[in-house]
Amino acid sequence: METKNLDRVVIRFAGDSGDGMQLTGTEFAKAAAEAGNDISTFPDFPAEIRAPAGSLFGVSGFQLHFSSSEIYTPGDAPDVLVVMNPAALKTNLKDLVDNGTLIVNTGAFIEANLKKAGYTTNPLEDGSLDKWKVHAVDIGHLTTTALDATELSTKEKGRAKNFFALGLVFWMYGREPEAEIRRIHQQFAKNPAFGEANVKVFKAGYHYGETAEVFQTVYKVPPATFAPGMYRNITGNEAIAIGLVVGADLAGKKLFYSGYPITPASSILHALAKYKNFGTLTFQAEDEIAAIGAAIGAAYGGAVAVTASSGPGIALKGEAIGLGVMTELPLVIVNVQRGGPSTGLPTKTEQSDLFQAIYGRNGEAPIPVIAAKSPGDTFYCAIEAVKIATRYMVPVMLLSDGYIANGSEPWPLPNLAALPRFEVHHRTDPNDYFVYKRDPKTLARDWVVPGTPGLEHRIGGIEKDALTGNISYAPENHEKQTRVRAEKIQRVAQDIGELDLAGAPTGDVLVVGWGGTYGALRQAQQALAGLGKKVSHAHLRWLSPLEPGLAKIIRNFKHVLVAELNMGQLRTVLRAEFLVDAVGLNKIQGQPFKVREVVTAIEKLLGGTISDTNAAVRLAEAH
């Protein structure tokens, strides 16, 4: 039995929504992380809760990229594909690299399933899989036999088969089974019988790999090296939830979160609902308008108030955001973007709500907009959003997306003590208090909360006198207030840090991106820079106001390529602002960029030849 070292592996598990592929993937990711690899994951599941077994649209996938060197993405194409049924094979095979490894649960390749997947002949027999290393394993059968002894019903036995697959890959990549066995027991503590069974099956899979002739090699992916410190795995929605709690604490306040469930934002509410002992109040409202309404009420009362949703729900909040702008109350609105328009592609990722974030309200109602670049980054963006909202007395929009929300990565745990605090001060001094008198630096008005004696006052959505806050229809006052509200957003630039720029501040191509495309863009830039190309990558954190750093460099490049998962929304904003002839790399498929796609687009601008494109792609992938 030989052991072979690999630098990196991309593996994808695919099966029915009911097959538990998400669990298998998550567990294997944990093992990889535990083994010290750098990892990046990409769960991709259908909108249906549990689509009927065997259907094409019911296929659920989980891709894991684990490596002995730093990685930024879940990988373009899997080296290893594990499929639990024909439908999974049909929908995923096209992505498997040539000569890649294919593990097939043969037991599921029965007439009925083949038909559902639209196969006329059985791919296991018609030779259509010849160009891949096929391992045919009757996982279903092996699972049930492993459980012969147990009391479980056949149905229940069947449910365990994902643990067989898990055991198998554990063996293939030389992972230590003990930790996993412990985890399984913990997870099923409430139901030991199942725990036992799953462990049995997990071991069966592991031993199958060991004993079966078919797998001659164990592949080892040595640990990656990381900056020293403490780490954990985290998804975007977990990190955003923790970030909000920490942000509120740094402001010296309690968090109030109100939301109405919507994919892929719901899990933020689910996470925060568990943090009651932090004094965090969560409110499941009757709809998105009520959710932001409640948040506005809480902000008026002095809480750090947050509401989150996805595109359609954010659309409903537009009018209320305007109220926040007019009354100048601090508020964080999180948009975990998904494919649009309308209901669109609820479980797929997209970046098409940027226009809505910046422009989607009646009247002149500008607000700051910040976007997270990775799962772990949402933590810092959440804190920053809370800081800006409370410092400038303004609603802040925080953009995430389905890819970040569900994806996970190893996350270096921040040093809490080192995070700068930004304590909120509520005015209590009645002397010469004016409702709209502003801080000269931030232009923020005082945040006076009900309960403060002597400062009783009234606010509302009608235009307000620039000093007293009384209703005012005076023409000049309206112009003045409108300009101040706009200026206030520009002032936020005072608090914006360095531009995240990779590569030189001048060159041939500047790739500009924002949000969850960070990994693919950065990796592509590094690859090309590695080949000596004059390519830089600027990744925007703040979209409104635009980062000061960008203005300094954007005109220093022959080409500006704005890469987004939309039809060119940031590109439009940048063209209007800088009058540079920025071109776009746009993908609207509900899927993240592949590094290859980005490299190819840059090469085109460089007038590159296919050959070095491939070199770059190889380099990027090897990266």
Binding site: F226, P228, G229, R232, F278, L281, I289, Y300, P450, H457
Partner: protein, 338 residues
């Protein structure tokens, strides 16, 4: 509810410095005055009193109260007030809304705030019209109402605000007329002391667009109103007539001497309350006063109980614990995992 401080307040203390912008003769003036007078008599803490409204003539109300006030957006006041109440349970929060603001665009927030027994004191100014937008019919307008948007008469059947509030789960339901300062004062005082969702329907006159919709009722209290008193029978027409439950479970007008005349109790059954809600003009005199009252934990109290409970069980939240939850590992100086 914030403990009332008994230092003497006068009505003036509750008046803001803002010019009142309602039409001359608007019923809102009378309501404003009674609210100011009553809160002064109660001796509320102005700083702990908040008036939150939507949009409409009635919703201008908060500007005229020398308390905290928030004139929000159309129909959303109950939602905004809910967020404030949950985070600041100690505040007294009054929600001012209209038949359009509270029952048309805002109907859903209304029923959900009531359903949750959110500790809000909601006053709905029912003038059966959209005043601010110049007189279109509203969800409470009588069928056939001729208004700018219904020149041939409205064709939808009106909502019964009291029935809706009861059905949604309000725990304090009352009705008063704008001009009946005495009854209104009494209701406001009891509403102030109630823990839970209060719903008060104010019969309000809009002299400009719907003048006199309530005249009939207000001008002939003897025959068109039943003033409810705890423990007293449902009688009217100077004690000559009463209300009983007829065969087929329908309310029926009977002689006051009839042994079956119903006796009022604010804490009556849900069915009794809905019977009261079904006493509507022209068939019946309409009940004025507190129709229903019921004690039930408020949303905000339950929410905070859960916080306290989880602190008691898990201890006050520790941020580093929070971050270190899940699978945590260390990377050593050599850059590899230990």
């Amino acid at each position: 509810m914030s403990e009332a401080v008994k230092l003497k307040l006068s009505k003036k203390d509750l008046e803001s410095d803002q010019d009142v912008r309602w039409c001359p003769g608007c019923g809102d003036y009378a309501i404003l005055a009674t609210v100011q007078r009553t809160l002064a008599q109660i001796g509320v803490k102005r700083e702990n009193t908040v008036f939150i409204s939507g949009i409409g003539c009635s919703s201008r109300f908060p500007y005229y109260m020398n308390t905290y006030g928030f004139h929000t957006i159309h129909g959303r006041a109950p939602a905004i007030a809910s967020g404030l109440k949950v985070t600041r349970p100690e505040l007294d929060i009054w929600v001012i809304t209209g038949d359009g603001d509270g029952l048309s665009i805002g109907g859903n927030h209304m029923i959900h705030a009531l359903r949750r027994n959110m500790g809000l004191k909601i006053i709905l100014f029912n003038n059966q019209i959209y005043g601010l937008t110049k007189g279109q019919y509203s969800p409470t307008s009588a069928p056939g109402t001729r208004a700018p948007s219904t020149p041939a008469g409205s064709i939808d059947f009106p909502l019964n605000p009291i029935a809706l509030a009861l059905g949604a789960g309000a725990t304090f339901v009352a009705r008063a007329a704008d001009t009946d300062a005495k009854l209104m004062g009494k209701i406001l005082d009891e509403a102030y002391r109630h823990h839970g969702a209060v719903f008060i329907e104010m019969l309000q006159n809009c002299p400009v667009f719907n003048d006199g919709v309530w005249e009939g009722i207000k001008d002939d209290p003897a025959n068109k109103q039943i003033v409810l008193t705890e423990g007293k029978p449902l009688v009217f027409a100077n004690g000559t007539k009463g209300i009983k439950l007829g065969a087929g479970l329908e309310p029926e007008i009977c002689d006051a001497s009839d042994p079956n005349v119903l006796v009022h109790t604010e804490r009556g059954s849900a069915l009794y309350a809905s019977l009261l809600s079904q006493l509507v003009q022209p068939a019946f005199p309409i009940p004025m006063g507190v129709l229903f009252r019921h004690d039930k934990p408020t949303y905000e109290s339950l929410a905070h109980a859960q916080l306290d409970d989880s602190i008691a069980k898990q201890g006050a939240g520790d941020l580093s614990k929070l971050m270190y939850s899940g699978m945590v590992w260390e990377v050593g100086a050599d850059g590899t995992r230990h």
